[in-house]
């Protein structure tokens, strides 16, 4: 049960939703609610007003614009595989989204909600960072775009302002060799550690999952990775600050990351 009461609004348009956000200082967007409702139940968060954006059809489209696929923020995880362009050009996204939570969660959860939540253990956020994606944000004054790397600030903290709504997520298509590695303890569980890779020219971009207080992005030169693995790994290690918990020590998380990178290199020998 949720103890705190709130006002609930279900606007039909983005304009109406943005108006509602600016009406009160303590508003929160609810998309699929698969992370937000559990947090509210635990009493970790509460709001005066919830703005449900599930009726805004403009947020449910998928389109190709220039060299990007632009996915509306309210596209659900289970819907991604229904778009040919995602199946053919972003299969890594489907691979990852099809492992989020469980079927019930994927029937509700949305790509925008997952990106906005900013959980350091989010596989989708790791993909978003590795693929050098960006978010398109809208407020009453206009639209701005933030790169994935700049979007994540800290534990459940993002660059999304209180008066803004994520309109869409953009993924570039100029990458190769995207791979996803993850170790978790149980079915439907978060990653103890995870890695998404994407190759851009002579660089390998890494999305690091559960390796710090938020999703981390690091880019390494492919030649450095293959020729000087240890020193390159040290440079990756230096940006990580994983926690130690009942599932793993910091060192075990680093060990997994090392195994993931070796796995990538074995699969893609130079």
């Amino acid at each position: 049960m949720i103890l705190s009461e709130f006002t609930y609004k279900k606007p039909k348009s983005l304009e109406e939703a943005l108006d509602l956000l600016s009406d009160t200082d303590d508003s929160k967007i609810i998309a699929g609610g698969q992370s937000l409702i559990p947090l509210m139940k635990m009493g970790l968060t509460g709001f005066e007003q919830l703005v449900d954006i599930s009726q805004i059809t403009d947020l449910k489209s998928v389109k190709v614009v220039d060299d990007f696929v632009e996915i509306g923020s309210m596209v659900r995880h289970c819907d991604l595989e229904n778009y040919d362009v995602i199946v053919s050009r972003l299969p890594i996204l489907i691979k990852i989204a099809s492992q989020i939570g469980d079927p019930q969660v994927r029937h509700r959860g949305t790509i925008g909600g997952a990106i906005a939540h900013g959980d350091p253990a989010s596989d989708l956020a790791g993909c978003f960072v590795a693929l050098k994606g960006s978010v398109v944000l809208s407020n009453k004054k206009g639209i701005r775009e933030i790169s994935a790397n700049d979007f994540y600030k800290g534990f459940l903290e993002t660059g999304l302002n209180d008066d803004e709504i994520i309109v869409s997520i953009k993924f570039p298509l100029n990458f190769r060799d995207a791979e996803f590695f993850k170790v978790s303890k149980r079915a439907q569980d978060w990653a103890i550690s995870g890695l998404v890779t994407a190759k851009f020219k002579d660089e390998l971009n890494l999305g690091l999952i559960s390796m710090g207080s938020t999703t981390l992005g690091v880019s390494v030169r492919i030649s450095d990775l293959y020729d000087n693995f240890e020193s390159t790994f040290e440079s990756i290690e230096s940006v990580c600050s994983p926690t130690q918990d009942i599932y793993a020590t910091k060192n075990f998380r680093f060990h997994l990351l090392r195994v993931f990178l070796r796995g990538y290199m074995n699969k893609h020998p130079i």
Binding site: M1, Q34, S54, P103, Q104
Partner: protein, 164 residues
């Protein structure tokens, strides 16, 4: 807030608090008690129902979010003509339950899983296990549950039944 929710083909028009969960609406307003609250943390799946034909955890949806939705609970699988739904039959014949607490959620998850299968496709055991990932059975009766879903699939293919 006023909501209008159809559960098992019956419409409920009523006033609810914004913080009421859908599972509480189903159990306390519609008085349908098959849907259980297990963990109340989006983990166990005992509260699984069909919302517009798809499995969801009703403990993680607000009743107000379900305004206008079409919901089916375990009770809704019974047509009233004395025959059981093929998935329910299969759970009985395969002894796909021990204490029964997870069963309504397991059955609804299985109904959703089997209805999502394309024509002519047959789910493998791995696919069935993955499809039931969101449902926990603390009696550890998974083997018979998987057997039940396999049998339900066979019954549906043989009987050319359409699950609604």
């Amino acid at each position: 807030m006023k909501v209008s929710i159809v559960i098992n083909q019956q419409r409920y028009d009523t006033e609810v608090a914004s913080n009421m969960l859908l599972v509480d609406f189903i159990r306390d307003v519609a008085k349908l008690k098959a849907t259980n609250v297990g963990c109340d943390t989006t983990t166990c799946g005992a509260c699984t129902i069909l919302l517009n034909g798809e499995s969801v955890k009703s403990c993680t949806i607000l009743a107000v979010q379900a305004d206008g939705a079409d919901i089916v609970t375990l009770e809704g699988l019974y047509t009233g003509d004395g025959t059981l739904h093929p998935v329910v039959q299969a759970f009985g014949r395969s002894h796909g339950l021990q204490c029964g607490f997870c069963t309504s959620g397991m059955v609804m998850a299985a109904v959703s899983l089997l209805s999502s299968v394309a024509d002519g496709q047959v789910l493998t055991e791995d696919e069935i296990r993955n499809g039931l990932e969101g449902n926990l059975c603390r009696c550890t009766g998974y083997q018979n549950i998987v057997n039940a879903v396999k049998l339900a699939q066979d019954l549906l293919i043989a009987g050319d039944n359409i699950i609604s």
